[in-house]
Amino acid sequence: MVPGLFMQGVGIDLVYSFVIFLICLIVYIETREISKLSSYKGINFFRNTFLFFGISYLLKFILALDVFSRGINLVGDAIFFGVVLYASLMAGIYLIMAIGNKKLPKNIGKWIFLIHALAILFAIIVLLTNNFLVYLIFQILILVVGVVLLYSDRKKASMLIIYQLLLLFWILDIVEVFVPKFFGGVQLIISLVSIGVFILVLYKIIKSTHNKK
């Protein structure tokens, strides 16, 4: 690829990652009060979704910044990459747990550490075996579970499209991490739509948390 165009792509990644990281940070802060007051599992899982999305995008931002400033990928060592995989995986898992929270066992809180441990283990295995396909299959499995949960509950109808798009972009983002410039020229459109989805979620959250009924 022409270096100029490559750097342009990295520039898009930089802005994209930073914007989504900021949105996730605002979502996390905005939902703090209702989460603390209610101690409601669904809200806590929902909040953690954006915490881990935020971590994942912050790391991607640092990675893009490194490539942008040095022209080479020095930060992208195994540990760094592993944390991106783990954070991204946990974001998807927390979203599924938020959507399906009423169907989860009441003592799920006690098992969260196990889910984190499995996600770390999974990220390490993917890294060691360099098997991107396993990760992708696992993500698609999570997407399918999410879609089934969404369609099994009519109350979630208003968020149906948004949750599905969040999960879809979650997968596309990781494809881009594994195979940089995989989507070529379409990447800009994917990034813009993805930002649009996150902004829509943020708008709905602000509207909901500042609603004076």
Partner: protein
């Protein structure tokens, strides 16, 4: 219809507030429409989460009052419920 946990907490706190923010445990149990066992569990949770505190009233009898956090919960209850509904949680 069975009340969910958030609604039960709201109802208990609302009863306390409606009694000039001071009520004895026995009438609170009666107004809350809960079994003694459930009531005690909720009260322990509310004290632990610092939504209410136990004080002595004018006659040196045990009374329950709301804390700032308790008032905050009452204020935010509708927002919490609408958030759960809006996001299908």
């Amino acid at each position: 219809m069975k009340r969910d946990r958030l609604k039960v907490i709201f109802d208990i706190l609302k009863i306390i507030k409606d009694h000039n923010n001071s009520i004895k445990p026995t009438p609170l149990l009666r107004y809350s429409n809960l079994s003694t066992k459930s009531f005690n569990e909720y009260m322990n949770e509310l004290v632990e989460r610092e939504f209410v505190k136990q004080v002595k009233d004018n006659k040196d009898k045990k009374a329950i009052t709301l804390t700032d956090k308790g008032f905050q919960y009452l204020e935010k209850y509708k927002t919490i419920v609408s958030f759960i509904d809006d996001f299908g949680l």
